[in-house]
């Protein structure tokens, strides 16, 4: 294999169409500056998860100097590339959980169907068990009886996990603003809300793809960074702890 070296200014003839050598250099320097922007002393924000240390808001932090700067650059470049690769893989292989509640579930079934084919994007593997799923598409109205069940299922999912609230009923209260419903934001964190009653399959697809671009391009957006949270945790009810919880019902009890 022959390697040829050419000075940048003479490389304009064989650079990709429309990008001259100068502007390519500019592109490179811009992305380096972007990577270095917000270089912060490590450990300044202990609330961040170790994975998230490299990901900071652009306008925060002071510039580093000298050796710390170089170390930061090394780590940042490696971490960013690795993170981006992992984010790309995660975003292109969501495993949605089979979770249909009401009318929106029928439109969710429509995205699995042939016209709006979710398998084009790799999301056709709907898993029945929440342990194997990473995307919860809440499709339908959430009643007060169902809310703790949904929360339990969401807790059972392993990190990283995302939730899409499909339809007006779980995003806000939808058509029915009454005693029996609760909006999903009240008991679990939602990443994408898809409006509609029911949203067209194309609209849900748009929401799923928006989530994909969120996960792929900018994992820092969303509730995790905003609240400084790592994730959620599963609460396993202990046998003696029934204070404030709905008591499990002995359904074979007779009479009222």
């Amino acid at each position: 294999m022959e390697v040829s070296r050419q000075p940048i200014s003479a490389a304009s003839s064989d650079s990709p169409a429309g990008v001259s050598g100068d502007s390519r250099l500019r592109v490179q320097s811009l992305s380096a500056r972007q990577m270095l922007r917000g270089a912060e002393v490590r450990g300044a924000n202990p609330g961040l998860h170790p994975d998230q240390e490299g990901v900071t808001a652009p306008h925060q932090g002071a510039a580093l100097e000298g050796a710390a700067f170089e170390r930061h650059v090394e780590e940042r470049v490696l971490t960013t590339t690795l993170e981006r690769a992992v984010a790309w893989a995660r975003s292109n292989s969501f495993f949605p959980a089979t979770f249909g509640l009401a009318c929106c579930a029928i439109e969710m079934m429509s995205i699995v169907a042939a016209r709006v084919d979710v398998a084009r994007f790799g999301f056709e593997a709907f898993r029945a068990s929440p342990r194997q799923a990473d995307l919860l598409i809440l499709s339908g109205r959430v009643s007060i009886k169902m809310a703790p069940v949904i929360r339990r299922i969401y807790d059972q999912m392993l990190e990283p996990k995302w939730a899409i609230s499909m339809g007006a009923c779980c995003s806000s209260m939808g058509v029915f603003n009454n005693y029996a419903l609760v909006p999903a934001d009240k008991f679990m964190p939602i990443d994408v809300h898809v409006p509609g009653c029911p949203p067209r399959p194309e609209a849900l697809m748009h929401g799923v793809l928006k989530l994909r671009s969120m996960v792929q391009d900018d994992p820092a957006t969303g509730w995790r960074t905003r609240y400084g949270a790592v994730g959620t945790e599963e609460v396993v009810p202990t046998p003696g702890d029934e204070q404030g919880r709905a008591v499990a019902v002995d359904v074979f009890r007779r009479g009222s």
Partner: protein
């Protein structure tokens, strides 16, 4: 639907029954093609049995309603269907909220099982003799009977910027 004379005949037959008596049938209505009899709460099962013998062998629906502010407030209605004669008739009973007890017809008509549980859940009517009277739609430990007219509709206030107090919820 039996016509007005048919309804009158049915009412008279019911009153001729000892279990029902003349005071059993409180009211007859034949309005807009619907035949309804309001009967005394105590003779409910006897009335339904006699109607079953008269051909109305299918209990289509048991539902409740709240007649607030008229007293007695709570009503339970039984829609009966005669499949041979293509007839429908409605039996209505009224109870008050202080003593909302009605005999359960589930032993005679198994279809009334879940439907009476729903009336109990939503209105608070107690069905004597029901095999398993629990809440069916609301959570088991819910307090209140939602479909009574004095129960608030409830719901969440719609959040606009002026009443959104949650800092985390407001845009940065």
């Amino acid at each position: 639907m039996p016509d007005a004379t048919g309804l009158e005949l049915i009412a008279q037959e019911l009153q001729a029954n000892d279990a029902v008596g003349a005071a059993g049938v409180l009211e007859r209505e034949h309005v807009r093609g619907r035949a309804a009899l309001t009967i005394e709460v105590g003779c409910l099962r006897a009335v339904l049995e006699q109607l079953r013998a008269g051909g109305f062998s299918f209990l289509a629906s048991v539902h409740g309603l709240d007649y607030y502010p008229e007293e007695p407030r709570l009503g339970v209605q039984y829609e009966l269907l005669d499949m041979e004669g293509r007839d429908r008739i409605t039996i209505k009973v009224r109870v008050s909220t202080e003593s909302p007890e009605v005999d359960s017809v589930t032993p005679d008509w198994p279809t009334a099982d879940h439907q009476e549980r729903e009336v109990h859940d939503m209105f608070g009517v107690l069905f004597r003799g029901h095999p398993d009277l629990r809440r069916i739609l609301m959570p088991e430990d819910y307090v209140g009977h939602p479909q009574r007219r004095d129960f608030p509709v409830g719901g969440e206030p719609v959040l606009f910027t002026y009443n959104d107090t949650n800092e985390l919820g407001s845009p940065e």
